[in-house]
């Protein structure tokens, strides 16, 4: 929808609450029973506030206009009424109890994850999400899509380039697209186990009514049963460092049949990846694969050109580690060190290629690392 037509429609949208959500003025009703309950609670409290505001501000503005000295008002001298004080203490209490009852019901319901039919583990990383389907044996990382990444100047050198200034406008779902989406079956109760690998993140899909902190070292849970096939988008909702604004969440909710197909395809792909890890790779293959792994996982901090942002994010270029003993390099990437998180969730081939890339790109002269080296170092 164009800006102009939006500006025309926006005032009309004020008329009905159903239209509200379409133009981004109100909370989404969502596609789960929880998100519906939350929406209803939100609207109830909102309308209660509107009624109270009308009465209270009505009285105040009536007084402001009527009881003016310029209109000859003479000040009354009353200044106490125990009756009034008791009345305007008790009435709010009654209203609050009326709100607390449905709120408690919804809260107890949304915290009960016991009826789940399947479980997905979600791990936050600086600045991407990892999704594990433990029963299906599927595990993958979900990064900000390249289309968005290429059109946002997260690098200060690019800030003034013309293409970046207008780049955002040319991308579909700018900042709300990922390179690999989470896939869920429709009409299925799903339990999300949410944790983090480094700092606190927060996994939020507004349409699901699910928003839960991902705490390092602890596991939180939430659940959703999506009743409508579609694509749903969200973002990390807890400040998690530099690229907090650039770790979106995209979920495809598909039919149960399509979900089964997707699972089979993913399982075949991970079997192929496991097989490739047993082979010996050529340096040029490692370098070309390593470049893309580097750009989606490492460049956020260490920069595309390996210059880093010292002293927080060390440079790769001329790095002692990247030019030194391979075992030390592998150890840091696998287990992290200080502000550097662990990357053990990546496959052996990905790790071997990215470490080889780091050791041989940017003018570095380190050794080549094979998937088998990673396997034995784990």
């Amino acid at each position: 929808m164009s800006k102009l037509s939006r500006a025309i429609v926006a005032p009309i949208a004020l008329i009905s609450t159903a239209v509200f959500s379409e133009y981004g003025l109100n909370m989404t009703e969502g596609v789960t029973s929880i998100s519906h309950d939350i929406y209803d609670l939100h609207m109830m409290v909102f309308w209660v506030c509107v009624v109270i505001a009308t009465i209270v501000f009505g009285a105040m503005f009536y007084s402001v206009f009527a009881h003016r000295k310029s209109k000859g008002a003479v000040a009354a001298q009353f200044h106490e009424s125990t009756k009034a004080e008791i009345l305007w203490t008790l009435i709010p209490v009654v209203i609050l109890v009326g709100m607390a009852i449905p709120a408690s019901k919804t809260l107890i319901d949304l915290e009960d994850t016991s009826k789940a039919e399947m479980t997905i583990k979600i791990t936050g990383h600086q600045w991407k999400w990892q999704y594990d389907y433990p029963k299906e044996g599927i595990s993958f990382i979900s990064n900000l899509a390249k289309t968005s990444k290429d059109s946002v100047a997260t690098d200060v050198d690019n800030l003034n380039k013309e293409s970046y200034k207008t780049g955002a406008l040319k991308v579909d779902n700018y900042l709300l697209e990922v390179d690999k989406r989470m896939v869920l079956p429709v009409d299925t109760s799903i339990r999300f186990l949410i944790t983090s690998n480094d700092v606190i993140h927060n996994w939020w899909i507004p349409a699901f009514g699910v928003k839960q902190d991902a705490n390092p070292g602890f596991i939180n849970d939430a659940w959703a049963k999506v009743d409508k096939i579609g694509t749903y988008r969200g973002q990390c909702a807890e400040l998690c460092g530099k690229d907090h604004g650039f770790m979106p969440i995209v979920v495809d909710v598909v039919s149960k049949k399509d979900y089964a197909k997707w699972v089979a395809k993913e399982q075949a792909a991970s079997a192929a990846a496991a097989a490739s890890a047993t082979q010996v790779w050529s340096k040029s293959d490692l370098m070309s694969k390593g470049k893309s792994v580097y750009e989606s996982n490492c460049a956020g901090c260490h920069k595309i050109d390996g210059s880093g942002i010292p002293p927080i994010f060390p440079a790769m270029k001329n790095s002692v580690i990247a030019n030194g003993i391979a075992a030390e390099h592998i150890k840091i990437v696998l287990h992290g060190e200080g502000g550097m998180p662990t990357f053990k969730m990546l496959g052996d081939t990905d790790l071997a290629s990215v470490i080889t890339y780091e050791r041989n790109a940017f003018g570095n002269t380190g050794s080549v690392v094979q998937p088998s080296d990673i396997k034995s170092a784990r």
């Binding site: 981004g24 003025l25 109100n26 909370m27 998100s35 939350i38 609670l41 409290v45 506030c49 505001a53 209270v56 009285a59 105040m60 007084s63 402001v64 009881h67 000295k69 008002a73 000040a75 001298q77 009353f78 200044h79 009424s81 009034a84 004080e85 305007w88 203490t89 609050l96 607390a100 408690s104 919804t106 809260l107 949304l110 946002v152 100047a153 997260t154 800030l159 200034k165 955002a168 406008l169 779902n173 900042l175 700092v199 606190i200 928003k211 839960q212 070292g217 602890f218 969200g234 973002q235 909702a237 807890e238 400040l239 460092g241 530099k242 690229d243 907090h244 604004g245 650039f246 502000g339």
Partner: protein, 535 residues
């Protein structure tokens, strides 16, 4: 002052000349002035950072800065406004007004008073200097959640910790001083329930400060040892818990919210009766409501943490306790409106700010009630809805009352009148632009825009642009504000001792420009009664 409080002492106690007057001063008015100018300077610095934030958010895409620098701006904006602007401004108002209002010559502990002010510029300078350090300023939000603020933070964080410690010392000493002044220096004829509401609200605020600031000091000390000495308070790999940081922080943080708003309630409770020419309605219920809010503020902290994975029983408790706060807060609003009701009102500048405070603060109160509903908070949490909420209570609440107080008592501070016409222009400019700035942020939050992001997807573009334009206009209004204040000090027409027709209070019995020592002999019972705003 124990033996000879006779009048011939007075002329020995004028201010010293030159710069050393301000360095060495132990006078409550001088120190109040220092606090207010310091707070105003920090307000302008914090405001400049906010302009940077709004400029980056004017359009989608990153135009001006890297995300890391954006995070530094949001973090430092919050810290500077909370610890550098709002809190010192209220201590400044307390310093200026409390001795005058309780019929005392000065604060009870004048040398400590000097020290608690002079810590501030150093703490502020340390905090600001982090911008120029390697790795930049703190970039983890003003709530500095671990482990982003410990394991993953820039080196400058240790300077930030030291600055917080200093600011905490200053606040605690200020609070002790106010308690000692109110309880020991009050005119003998003034009973507690004769005290003006600004004195009451500050007395209660002082107890909040003494209770809350040491907890903050504990939190940053644990951060310091986690960062430098190998402890693991907030690190799960060492047996700690990052969520414990949030419990400790918000055990400070929620009382802190009321530290910034209770004195504002006090200010408004002076201005509305004056311009309604009517006694304050429900004085004793105002006192009890303030005390109940203060008590409740200590037992609701985890409503900032509904998404951290608390047990459901904990969430229910914190939701109920939070909703209860609406009751005493409502009582206050009803009392203000009952004070206006059937008054004989005029709308000089202080009254305009006070009435708009009641209106806009209450909007912030409504969104606060919505946020308190735990299930709904799932959708509001960490979005622009929260940003809109706390700016309505802190800008159009706390800051509004500070500006209202400035116009209301400026004649007593300077002995001169400000330009009423210009001040009204400034009011309408500020009140319109602040709503253009913050009201659309409610919509942004409900539509799903997270807070603390430097760039956003396109459906948020329109409201962000409106908000930014409002922000620039609101920022510019402070240029006019500065001019009005400086113009009043330099060229203002002489004020009378009681420039407002309906004003009551001991401060108005002093000279047009209040004398250097407020009351060398305590005011009589009759004077206290006749100057009471509530009988």
């Amino acid at each position: 002052m124990t033996t000879a409080t006779t009048s011939h002492d007075d002329h020995h106690h004028g201010p010293e000349k030159g710069l050393m007057r301000w360095v060495k001063t132990t006078n409550h008015k001088d120190i109040g002035t220092l606090y207010l100018w310091f707070a105003f300077t920090m307000l302008l610095i914090g405001g400049a950072l906010a302009m940077g934030i709004r400029m980056e958010l004017l359009q989608p895409g990153l135009q001006l800065m890297e995300p890391h620098f954006f995070n530094q701006l949001t973090t430092m904006h919050g810290l500077i406004m909370v610890f550098g602007a709002i809190m010192p401004a209220f201590v400044g108002l307390g310093n200026w007004l409390i001795p005058m209002m309780v019929g005392a010559p000065d604060m009870a502990l004048p040398r400590m008073n000097n020290w608690s002010f002079w810590i501030l510029p150093f703490a502020g300078a340390i905090l600001l200097s982090t911008f120029f350090m390697e790795g930049g300023a703190p970039a983890f939000g003003w709530t500095f959640y671990a482990p982003l603020s410990t394991t993953f933070a820039p080196d400058s964080t240790d300077f930030f910790i030291f600055a917080i410690h200093l600011l905490g010392f200053s606040s605690i000493m200020g609070a002790i001083n106010i308690i000692a002044t109110v309880l020991n220096m009050r005119a003998p004829a003034m009973k507690l329930m004769d005290m003006p509401l600004f004195v009451w609200t500050w007395l209660i605020t002082s107890f909040l400060l003494i209770g809350a600031m040491p907890v903050l000091a504990g939190a940053v000390t644990m951060m310091l040892t986690d960062r430098n000495f190998g402890t693991a308070f907030f690190d799960a790999t060492g047996g700690g818990d990052p969520v414990m940081f949030q419990h400790i922080f918000w055990f400070f943080g929620h009382p802190e919210v009321y530290i910034m708003i209770l004195p504002a309630f006090g200010v408004v409770s002076h201005i509305i009766p004056t311009f309604a020419r009517k006694p304050l309605f429900g004085y004793s219920s105002m006192v009890y409501a303030t005390a109940s809010i203060a008590f409740l503020s200590y037992i609701v902290w985890a409503h900032h943490m509904f998404l951290t994975g608390m047990p459901v029983a904990g969430e229910l408790y914190f939701m109920y306790a939070t909703m209860l706060i609406a009751v005493p807060t409502g009582v206050k609003v009803f009392n203000w409106i009952a004070t206006m009701w059937r008054g004989s009102m005029t709308f000089e500048t202080p009254m305009l700010w006070a009435v708009s405070f009641v209106f806009l603060f209450t909007i912030g109160g409504f969104s606060g009630l919505m946020l308190g509903i735990a299930p709904a908070d799932i959708q509001y949490h960490d979005t622009y809805f929260v940003v809109a909420h706390f700016h309505y209570v802190l800008v159009t609440g706390a800051l509004w009352s500070i500006i209202a107080a400035t116009f209301y008592w400026l004649p007593k501070w300077t002995g001169k009148m400000y330009n009423e016409g210009l001040a009204k222009v400034h009011f309408w400019w500020a009140v319109i632009s602040v709503n253009v700035l913050f009201f659309p942020q409610h919509f942004l939050g409900l539509a799903g825009m997270p807070r603390r992001i430097p760039d956003y997807s396109l459906q948020f573009a329109d409201f962000n642009m409106i908000s930014s334009i409002g922000g620039f206009a609101f920022g510019a209004s402070f240029i006019l504000f500065t001019y009005i204040i400086v113009d009043c000090i330099r060229n203002g027409k002489p004020a009378t001792a009681r420039p407002w027709e309906g004003a009551k209070g001991l401060e108005w019995t002093l000279a047009p420009k209040a004398q250097y020592h407020s009351f060398n002999t305590p005011p009589s019972k009759e004077l206290i009664k006749s100057e009471s705003q509530h009988s």
